[in-house]
């Protein structure tokens, strides 16, 4: 199964949700933000190397860490050499080898945001309650619809006491993550909140989101 975590605006919590889903689904998290990666990297080949044909997809996966990750490189030259049109095939190769892939997508509505959607079995749309973030989420949702990628769930991140009725704009089901110290702490440490604070409300919500995603209908492959 390929789950694409997307969300238009930057900084809404795509990586936080991706890491947690990687933990819950026992998946490989692919940092598909080619130009502005932010998942931990370490040494070894990156997604850019794979997209440039210099490394096999499975060789670039780091599975000695809290969550298996296929990181993206940081250099502009490396990204320049990568062929983005190979992304879909790379994601499918990782999916075949590992069983589940969570794609931590980039902000914006560029081709790099759209390409993972073409192979995703479900998209998870992440937004905060802010008007700007919701507006961008609406645009991302239209893009997903255009590419036949179903929205599996909407994650409303950093909810304080009251939240806007996002179901009107984005539909459901909506998963609420509270603005809380343990979530921010996990993100700062680059770890899934489901691992650092497994009993926290946010971790519980993310686990039930993971469970819901395992029930989505997979898109046919040709």
């Amino acid at each position: 199964m390929i789950v694409s975590v997307c969300g238009g605006k930057g900084g809404v919590g795509k990586s936080t949700v991706s890491l947690a889903l990687g933990d819950v689904l026992d998946a490989v998290v692919v940092d598909a933000d080619l130009a502005m990666a932010d998942l931990p990297i370490g040494a070894g080949p990156t997604l850019q190397d794979v997209l440039a044909g210099r490394a096999r997809p499975t060789d670039a996966v780091r599975d000695d860490w809290a969550v298996a990750v296929l990181p993206a490189g940081r250099s502009l030259a490396g990204t320049r050499a990568a062929d983005p049109t190979r992304l879909a095939a790379v994601l499918q190769a990782i999916d075949d080898a590992y069983g589940t892939v969570v794609v931590d997508g980039p902000a914006g509505l560029g081709a790099d945001a759209a390409l993972p959607m073409t192979v995703a079995d479900a998209c998870v749309l992440v937004t905060t309650p802010s008007t700007a973030a919701i507006a961008d989420a609406v645009r991302t949702q239209s893009l997903a619809r255009e590419l036949d990628a179903g929205i599996g769930a909407v994650v409303l991140n950093r909810v304080r006491s009251r939240r806007p009725p996002v179901e009107n704009r984005l539909g459901g089901p909506v998963v609420e993550l509270p603005a809380a110290e343990p979530v921010a702490d996990a993100t700062a440490r680059g770890l899934p909140v489901t691992m650092t604070a497994p009993d926290h409300e946010a971790a519980r919500e993310l686990r039930s989101l993971g469970e819901r995603l395992t029930r989505v209908t997979r898109r046919p492959r040709f």
Binding site: A77, P84, T85, G110, A111, A114
Partner: protein, 133 residues
């Protein structure tokens, strides 16, 4: 169906303009092929070939009672005619398939940083040497 083409030369490059006209009452699928003795430089969108073009010509649909204008360039000398209408068919009304990766890059843009921001390695090496202590 008919196809008219003209050429114009500037700076050693031949520019070919093509008009494909469909006088019938049904949409037609057609293919034109380059007859110049040289490579075909097809139009590009966001760095990838515009839809319908390949290295030897263009394939597309012209609507009923309509015309379609096309153009490309080549470093070869002009010949007459520069292109040939090699096939026409009734256009099937099948719906467009889902966009592929190339279509997505074409319509949403290449996500890679522009070449200008990437300094070649020989340049960066020389720079660091020059600015060394």
């Amino acid at each position: 169906m008919d196809c008219t083409a003209s050429t114009e030369t500037a700076g050693g490059v031949t520019f070919v303009s093509v008009i494909v006209a469909n006088q019938t009452a049904t949409p037609r699928r057609f293919r034109i092929e380059n007859r110049l003795d040289g490579p075909l430089w097809a139009p590009r969108v966001q760095g990838v070939l515009a839809a319908g073009w390949d290295e030897s010509g263009f394939e597309g649909v012209v609507a009923a009672n309509a015309t379609r204008a096309l153009g490309y360039a080549s470093p070869a000398d002009p010949v007459d005619p520069p292109v040939e209408l090699v096939s026409t068919d009734a256009a099937d009304d099948s719906t467009d398939p889902l966009p592929g990766a190339t279509d997505i890059v074409r319509s949403l843009g290449d996500p890679r940083p522009p070449a200008d921001v990437v300094a070649p390695s020989y340049l960066t090496a020389a720079d660091s040497e020059a600015s060394g202590p």
